[in-house]
């Protein structure tokens, strides 16, 4: 897994360098009548906009369990500085430098002189720095208050929508700004100021919140909740109720759930008008699987681990492992159905999407659930819910994407033979039917997965106890 990640990163970095050096030739070919500098400058702000989005999903918060150090003879200033500096070592910071600096050296230096090139490089580094610390700040804010997450995605979405519907043009703004900077290199003070502001802001926030763990715990009176509508499902309802409360009352699962909601909008990335017109059903199906299965991916990757704190109690509790497994299936089915209904608004783009999402929904409910539970019986690392999430953002990093990729891969195995032999719709139908068959086979799967859990439950318990 780690090796795999390293490969991806090295590949991306190598591509970036090659791209960086060849960019002016590429632009010359693609836009023969335009000034390559102008085209390239128009692209920069786009890059940093997407960079924001990527960072939000990939960049991990630097973690440090701060408590042991607070009592030691270390100044708070040093602690925050350590957190800030350590966070800088991520490939996301290397990428823009490798992508843009070759261009500065190979192109700007020749046409506009060394001062412009240096100003350009300073701009890129400052903007990277700005993005880096702003995202750290926003991510930390989202942990405390989920609305920040919503606000962040809405802002990004508005920027993209504004550009898409020609309200304003990101590329025009970008090229104006950067061409100005190239003309008057001193203007690079502005991005420097921005970067400086983001660092100061982030540091201030960190300093204020070093006590956060204590502040958050005692507060409002807690009420008991009783989900009577779950009663009719008997023991399954009880177990599902546990998960609902788990999500509502613990920061980490709550941010995972909020993340799922935010990721529902990923549909817009996959379902583009061109994609629908050109009939790229593979892409649409991929998007549909992701969007309808988002809860299985985000919540399911820690399926048993969420229960890690009380897995001893659960395994000694008065229900069978079959019942426990079945409750997982029902939880997925319930949330999956709600997700499916929510995302049918994409149907306004085209009725085809509705059908593809139906197939994906069946596939997720029938088969991805099986995969998810199977993986759960093979993961022995528990999560500590009691640890506040404020210095902890595990679970929303790259691992999630790998996990999602495995899911997609199985889908491709079902889809591709039919799509290639017959046509795309045959593939879509195959996916849907495959899911449906697995839904019908669910009791059989329950039996198999319960046996798997029975075989490995001691190992899981041991792992969860360690933490």
């Amino acid at each position: 897994m780690q090796i795999f990640m390293a490969f991806i990163i090295v590949y991306l970095l190598a591509t970036a360098i090659v791209l960086g050096f060849s960019v002016s030739t590429i632009i010359n070919k693609a836009f023969p009548n335009q000034d390559p500098e102008k085209v390239f400058c128009g692209f920069i702000l786009y890059y940093f906009l997407f960079d924001m989005l990527f960072r939000f999903l990939w960049q991990e918060l630097p973690t440090l369990s701060i408590q042991p150090y607070l009592a030691q003879n270390i100044q708070r200033k040093q602690l925050t500085r350590f957190l800030n500096i350590r966070s800088l070592f991520t490939f996301l910071n290397l990428l823009p430098i490798l992508l843009f600096i070759p261009f500065a050296v190979s192109s700007i230096f020749q046409t506009d002189g060394s001062a412009a090139a240096i100003a350009f490089i300073i701009c890129i580094i400052s903007l990277t720095c700005f993005n880096h610390f702003t995202i750290l700040f926003i991510k930390r804010k989202t942990i405390i208050n989920g609305w920040w997450l919503v606000a962040f995605f809405v802002t990004i979405a508005l920027c993209m929508a504004g550009d898409y519907f020609n309200v304003f043009s990101v590329s025009a703004i970008s090229s104006t700004v950067f061409l100005h900077i190239l003309k008057t290199p001193l203007l690079c003070i502005i991005p420097i100021a921005l970067a400086f502001f983001s660092v100061v802001n982030n540091t201030r926030f960190l300093k204020q919140n070093l006590y956060l763990e204590e502040l958050s715990s005692a507060s409002a009176k807690k009420e008991s909740a009783n989900y009577t509508w779950l009663n009719r499902f008997g023991i399954y309802g009880e177990l599902i109720g546990l998960d609902l409360k788990l999500i509502l009352r613990n920061k980490r699962p709550r941010s995972a759930a909020l993340m799922s909601v935010a990721l529902l909008f990923y549909g817009f990335l996959f379902y583009k008008p061109e994609t629908i017109e050109q009939g790229q059903y593979g892409v649409l199906l991929l998007g549909a699987t992701f969007v309808t299965g988002i809860f299985i991916i985000t919540y399911g990757q820690f399926l048993f681990a969420w229960h890690g704190n009380f897995f001893d109690g659960l395994m000694a509790g008065n229900f069978t492992l079959q019942q426990y497994i079945k409750s997982r299936f029902l939880l997925f089915a319930g949330v999956g159905t709600i997700t499916f209904m929510l995302v049918s608004f994409y149907g306004f783009m085209s009725w085809k999407i509705l059908i593809i999402q139906l197939a994906a929904y069946l596939y997720n409910t029938g088969f991805n659930t099986v995969l998810s539970i199977y993986f759960a019986t093979r993961s022995y690392k528990g999560l500590d819910l009691s640890k506040s999430a404020s210095f902890n953002y595990q679970g929303t990093g790259a691992a999630q994407w790998i996990y999602g990729l495995v899911f997609m891969l199985f889908g491709a195995i079902v889809y591709l033979p039919f799509a290639l032999l017959f046509n795309a719709w045959a593939g879509v139908i195959a996916i849907g039917l495959f899911g449906l068959v697995n839904i019908l086979l669910q009791d059989w799967w329950v039996q198999i997965l319960a046996n798997q859990l029975m075989q490995r439950k001691h190992k899981i318990l041991e792992g969860f106890r360690e933490k």
Partner: protein
């Protein structure tokens, strides 16, 4: 009730439980004593199939607990916080446990009412999740959840350790009543030799995973144990 047959468990080559044979009859009130690392908790986990035995078997009512789940219906246990769902309020947790044992809300309420003095006003209607309770109060929640289950076999790991003196006395009284009136088989471990010789009728002394002494409790038992533990 419980039969241990040649049961053994080792972690990284270190033996934690190694018992050739042991029988606990129905209605017994048995105490487990021994220093840390003697294997008490691991033995309890073996009884609940939370740890896989390297060899041998644990029979609960004549049936091997590994690979069988019937024992869950009549066994209640509280070993540590790993049994509590700490983001629930105590009430929610009690009703959840009650539901698992097909007990109605009224049944649960009745049991809780009988525990009023034991709770000492610190558990119910307090507007706190279990995770916000003190360790002693969490233990009370755990013990109460066991009683809600109406078990035939009750297993408690060091129940006195975190309780205040009054609660310890109340617990002793409760356990004695459960054992005498409802004929519940009870297994407890403790480092408190006074308490354990006070309520138990039989004491198993463990050392390095082995039961080195199986004593019926008499007037001399306390002195005997004190001599063993003397440094």
């Amino acid at each position: 009730m419980i039969t241990l047959n040649n049961i053994g468990k080792a972690y990284n080559g270190k033996i934690v439980v190694d018992i050739a044979a042991c029988n606990i009859a129905e209605g017994e009130l048995v105490g487990l004593v021994g220093n840390n690392g003697a294997g008490k908790t691991t033995l309890f986990r073996l009884l609940l199939d939370l740890v896989r035995a390297d060899r041998g078997e644990v029979l609960s009512k004549g049936v091997n607990v590994a690979g069988n789940e019937n024992w869950k219906q009549f066994t209640a246990a509280y070993l540590d916080e790993g049994f509590l769902i700490t983001y629930l309020t105590p009430e929610e947790y009690f009703y959840f446990i009650g539901k698992l044992h097909n007990r109605t809300k009224a049944d649960v309420d009745e049991t809780l009412k009988s525990l009023e003095t034991f709770f000492d006003g610190a558990i119910l209607q307090n507007g706190k999740y279990i995770r916000d309770l003190s360790k002693g109060n969490q233990f009370k929640v755990g013990i109460a959840s066991c009683l809600i289950q109406n078990p035939q076999l009750l297993i408690l790991d060091e129940p006195f350790a975190n309780l205040d003196p009054s609660s310890q006395m109340r617990l002793i009284k409760m356990l004695r009543e459960l054992n005498e009136q409802k004929r519940i088989t009870i297994l407890i471990s403790s480092h408190d030799l006074n308490h354990i010789t006070d309520i138990c009728k039989r004491i198993l002394l463990m050392e390095k995973g082995k039961i080195i002494n199986d004593l019926p409790v008499s007037a001399d038992t306390l002195t005997e144990l004190e001599n063993y533990f003397k440094v």
